[in-house]
Symmetry: C2
Subunit: 81 residues, 2 copies
């Protein structure tokens, strides 16, 4: 089995209201040294495949469901589960 | 400047309805080899501090705002921004 760690983030050009809200909250808690906050999704997917087959399946799942290609980028790492 | 990459995940004992929903969706798309999906938050926080000072600030922000200690765990990595 393989565990995929998937990081989905908004593309740089896309406004991040959630990140802005977190940044404002941190500033109001006196963490004024914070310059920027970007918020995204982190997913762990465990599947039967291994090696290249796992890479191929995870890539398909990200392209089709887990990330919106219009506004999001994704990266992933695979490890033995 | 430092960029912190923060991963917030639900504790193992906590039910993950969002993860279950994603898993059901993947199964309905014929990805039946998926055994489990856990969904969490991924945040990138850029701040002025560096080294130990950055570690201390990020830890405080996670403990106070970014992660709910009752139901969530967090991990982070720091890199030059």
């Amino acid at each position: 089995m393989t565990k995929a760690k998937i990081y989905v983030t908004l593309k740089e050009s896309v406004l991040d209201p959630q990140g802005q809200a977190v940044q404002n909250a941190l500033h109001s808690m006196s963490y004024t040294s914070v310059q920027e906050v970007r918020v995204g999704k982190y997913m762990e997917v465990t599947l039967d495949e291994q090696g290249d087959a796992a890479h191929e399946k995870i890539k398909q799942m990200c392209d089709k469901l887990l990330a919106n290609p219009v506004i999001e980028n994704y990266e992933y790492e695979l490890e033995e589960a």
